[in-house]
């Protein structure tokens, strides 16, 4: 991605509810036209973050800047930030036209301008001709798209989406997951996207802010995050489960990591107590790698493209992901897992 203007700056944002800090020292930045996903488990403060940025709640500390301007005293309706709520919050007393045109009406536009804006927004979400429909006659997917059209119609300088696919069933989610990036990139829209789903994040985001318990865990592209998680939390949240307590020490001038299943060379700069991640997606069954672990297949499950195995070695239980077109070993069968420790074994703080 080419370097673009930084538009949103979040600095040391703190929000407490009573004793507990919902958000604790959050800082990150967004560039114009960028899609940033805020990823984290439920209750990690994601929605609170959106509400603070939208101005629906006030932070206890910290700053929200848009193109250098402090938003602290700018009320919600003047910020120009759109927010699409998790349950859509469509106005039940207005039809689709009334909903989608609401923001344009608030801008004081003429009726014909509103009408044009509404049909343009509906075209974007592929709901042409829905203007006169009542919102309670819409299906779940249609509601989601009307909500999106409503948020897009006033052309917000920042669009925030709060779990936009969370309320939908699996098939609908997968379809909209394909539509959404197309719609957003057509508009070159700056988007802050909140979700707890890493699949959604990887499909949509240019960059990811990973949150846990109100704190930023890691910021990076989806690729960086997946291939180089910095903490055990990040690894576990991205579905990487082979995590073990380990010790890094210098031996003969080179660092070595002592794990429950063996001692291997490492390139990490960390020393002392660490967490070792043995990536299940970087192991093979051929027994030809620099290192080999023997184990018995305890469980296996077929996941379409991938085959997941649980292998019990004499020390630990490992999960690994293999191509499903391989000959799958039977449960109980003894296998040889081979891996390159410098590639498959990562040391996390």
């Amino acid at each position: 991605m080419t370097e673009r203007e930084t538009v949103l700056q979040i600095r040391d944002l703190v929000k407490r509810f009573g004793e507990t800090a919902a958000l604790d020292d959050i800082s990150f930045e967004m560039q114009m036209g960028e899609i940033v996903a805020v990823l984290g488990p439920s209750g990690c403060g994601k929605s609170t973050l959106l509400h603070l940025i939208a101005g629906l709640e006030r932070p206890d500390r910290g700053q929200i800047l848009w193109q250098g301007e402090d938003m602290a005293d700018v009320p919600t309706h003047l910020r120009g930030f759109g927010l699409m709520f998790q349950e859509f919050a469509l106005f039940p007393h207005l039809d689709v036209r009334g909903n989608v045109g609401f923001g344009l009406r608030m801008q004081g536009l003429r009726d014909d301008q509103i009408e044009a804006g509404v049909s343009e927004a509906l075209r974007l979400v592929d709901l042409e001709g829905y203007e006169a429909r009542q919102v309670d006659t819409l299906s779940g997917g249609e509601r989601q798209r009307v909500a999106l059209a409503r948020s897009l119609a006033p052309r917000p300088r920042l669009l925030m989406l709060d779990e936009p696919l969370g309320a939908l069933d699996r098939t609908l989610r997968e379809r909209l997951l394909l539509d959404l990036p197309a719609i957003l990139s057509e508009l070159d829209q700056t988007v802050l996207y909140v979700t707890h789903d890493q699949e959604e994040t990887f499909a949509i985001a240019d960059r990811v802010v990973l949150l846990n318990a109100g704190r930023v865990v890691q910021i990076g592209t989806p690729f960086e995050l997946y291939h180089n998680p910095h903490t055990a939390f990040a690894a576990r949240f991205l579905g990487l489960t082979n995590l073990f307590p380990a010790l890094v020490r210098d031996a003969d001038g080179a660092a070595q990591v002592e794990t429950p299943f063996g001692t291997y060379p490492t390139e990490t700069r960390l020393r002392g107590q660490v967490t070792a991640l043995l990536r299940g997606d970087r192991m093979q069954l051929d027994g030809e790698g620099p290192e080999v672990l023997h184990g018995r297949v305890k469980d296996r499950s077929f996941r379409g493209q991938a085959l997941r195995l649980k292998v019990q070695t004499s020390q630990v239980e490992l999960a690994c992901t293999l191509d499903s077109d391989l000959d799958a070993p039977e449960i109980g069968q003894v296998v040889e897992l081979s891996f390159d420790p410098l590639h498959a074994l990562q040391v996390l703080a």
Binding site: L56, H77, L83, F85, A89, F102, G103
Partner: protein, 567 residues
């Protein structure tokens, strides 16, 4: 409810058509004899003659003070409803319970309470007379429009607080927030999103407030005085003082049409509240008071609610324990705390034949209330049971609103109807002691039935089927399944019947025999007569009545589970 259609069909065939009719029979007979027949007589009498001036009276009733007090009630109630709906604060439950007490107070107690606070013998005037050595009460509150308005706001605010507040508390706060993120100011978000969504609830509450203002007989009679004769007061005067039944009847007819029209409108709106709006659990919609500005606004509002809704109650209670005497120079002085007012209740103050000891009135009221409970159980319980059987038969659809009609007719009209029908053959009950319990049962009927029906409907049909499959006969199903499950609701209904009977004034004022007064009638008599002793006894009796009805209300509140819109 996810009762599947086939199980309903089985149910229907199982109980059979004949038992269905049998269930309807007692309540229908009761309503026909004691409600529709009297009303029909009023119709026929009123068509016998016309009267000019009626329409101006009607116009006045519809426009002036009722509308004004409705607007005032909304002015206090809506901010209160917002506070209750959106915020958590300490003492909220208590404030909510306190705000409900004025609503259930008998109208004579409301009048007595305002007398105790602002009347010629009330706290304010006593204070001013003591301070400035005045011979006469300086502040003239009784018989002013302000008195009526204040009393109306006093006992109707809770309707707005509850009906609008309950609905509001379940309205998704994200709707208004969404409007703001779309560029709407706070005010625009309220005007264009929250207000339209709340409007059915606000309209329904307003109509109900209007209805209660319209039928607030005792308050107008005691606080308003002759200058503010409403339809009801006029009906009463025409009947009792002038014995001009035809005029009274035509007035009743007008009154009936008005209240029925309002009731129908109310029922329609109440249905619209149940519009498909996603309601949110209160946990998600309410938050604490954060900024100091919010706290200040909430404090002012809570203070206003306390002043309007609670001070009259406190004034009444305190006044009943106060002795006042007249000093030599004519000014009134407080002579300390006393139980004298209560002690005198057992004495016959004036030994004229129309005065009986107040303890006798208490005994009468308790007997009438017990009879009302009994009659309600006999009549109301089968009605509720018949209504709750989810058979969508045409019969049930017609009978349902029919059974609710007494809510729309005022007690005074009912009393008048009784006078014109039941004092002559074929039914001569004028002197019978059952007359009042019958009237009270009718007044309590809608409340009694409405408390029971939701509970009965909530019983899953498969429970009954399971019992039947285990060999229980229909009677045993009722005894061992229905009854235990609706026990609480039945208790609520009984307390309703009892509380309403104890405090009922409109019908009692017309129907109670002079030698058998009820407590509200006795209070009315004491308040209408001059003298410190009479006033003191009115205070004592009113305080007792306030405690009983407030106790009943709190019991209902505790027994009943919160239900949106169910009145």
């Amino acid at each position: 409810m996810n009762a599947n259609p086939s199980s309903l069909r089985v149910n229907k065939r199982g109980t059979g058509f004949q038992t269905g009719w049998l269930l309807w029979l007692p309540p229908l007979t009761f309503l026909v004899v004691f409600f529709f027949y009297p009303l029909a007589r009023i119709f026929s009498i009123s068509f016998g003659r016309g009267d000019q001036g009626i329409f101006s009276l009607l116009l006045q009733a519809l426009t002036s003070e009722n509308t004004l007090s409705m607007l005032l009630t909304l002015a206090l109630g809506l901010p209160g409803a917002y506070l209750f709906a959106r915020y958590r604060f300490r003492g909220k439950t208590l404030l909510r319970a306190l705000s409900g007490i004025p609503f259930v107070l008998p109208t004579v107690v409301v009048a007595a309470a305002f007398n105790a606070l602002l009347g010629p013998n009330g706290w304010l005037n006593m204070f001013l007379m003591n301070q400035f050595n005045l011979a006469h009460p300086p502040f003239n509150f009784m018989h002013t429009l302000g008195a009526i308005l204040l009393a109306h706001v006093f006992y109707n605010t809770t309707i707005v607080l509850r009906m609008v507040g309950d609905f509001w508390s379940h309205l998704d706060p994200h709707l208004a927030a969404a409007a703001e993120t779309l560029g709407a100011t706070r005010w625009q978000a309220f005007r264009r999103v929250s207000l339209p969504l709340l409007s059915p609830a606000i309209m329904a509450a307003s109509l109900l407030v209007f209805l209660f203002d319209f039928t607030s007989f005792g308050v107008i009679l005691l606080l308003g005085g002759p200058r503010f004769a409403t339809l009801e007061v006029e009906i009463y005067t025409q009947t009792v003082n002038l014995f001009n039944l035809p005029t009274a009847a035509s007035l009743s007819l007008l009154q009936l049409v008005c209240t029925l029209a309002i009731s129908v409108l109310y029922t329609r709106l109440a249905k619209r509240i149940a519009r498909p709006i996603t309601l949110r659990p209160v946990l998600l919609t309410q938050k604490g008071l954060a900024s100091s500005r919010q706290k200040l606004a909430a404090g002012v509002l809570i203070a206003a609610l306390l002043i309007v809704l609670v001070t009259p109650l406190a004034a009444l209670g305190a006044r009943s324990f106060t002795r006042y005497g007249t000093a030599p120079r004519g000014e009134v002085v407080q002579q300390g705390w006393t139980l004298e007012n209560y002690r005198q209740l057992s004495e016959d103050p004036q030994s004229s034949i129309f005065f009986v000891p107040p303890t006798q009135a208490i005994r009468n009221s308790l007997l009438y209330a017990a009879a009302t409970v009994l009659l309600s159980l006999l009549i109301g319980a089968p009605s509720a049971w018949a209504l709750a059987r989810r058979t969508s038969s045409r019969l049930a659809r017609i009978l349902d609103p029919l059974l609710m009609l007494p809510l729309g007719a005022s007690a005074v009209t009912l009393g008048l109807g009784f006078i014109v029908t039941l004092s002559q053959p074929p039914l001569d009950l004028r002197t019978s002691p059952v007359l009042l319990p019958i009237a009270h049962t009718l007044v309590a009927f809608p409340f009694f039935v409405r408390s029971l029906v939701p509970a009965l409907q909530s019983i899953q049909p498969n429970l009954k089927q399971a019992a039947a499959a285990l060999g229980a006969a229909p009677r045993q199903v009722m005894l061992y399944i229905d009854l235990p499950l609706v026990g609480r609701a039945l208790l609520v209904a009984v307390v309703f019947a009892f509380t309403i009977s104890i405090g009922e004034f409109g019908a009692s004022a017309l129907l109670a025999r002079p030698e058998f007064p009820t407590v509200p009638v006795a209070i009315f008599r004491f308040l209408s007569r001059p003298g410190a002793i009479n006033f003191g006894m009115a205070m004592a009796l009113s305080t007792l009545l306030m405690l009983v009805t407030a106790g009943g209300m709190l019991a209902i509140e505790r027994l009943r589970l919160a239900e949106v819109g169910e009145f």
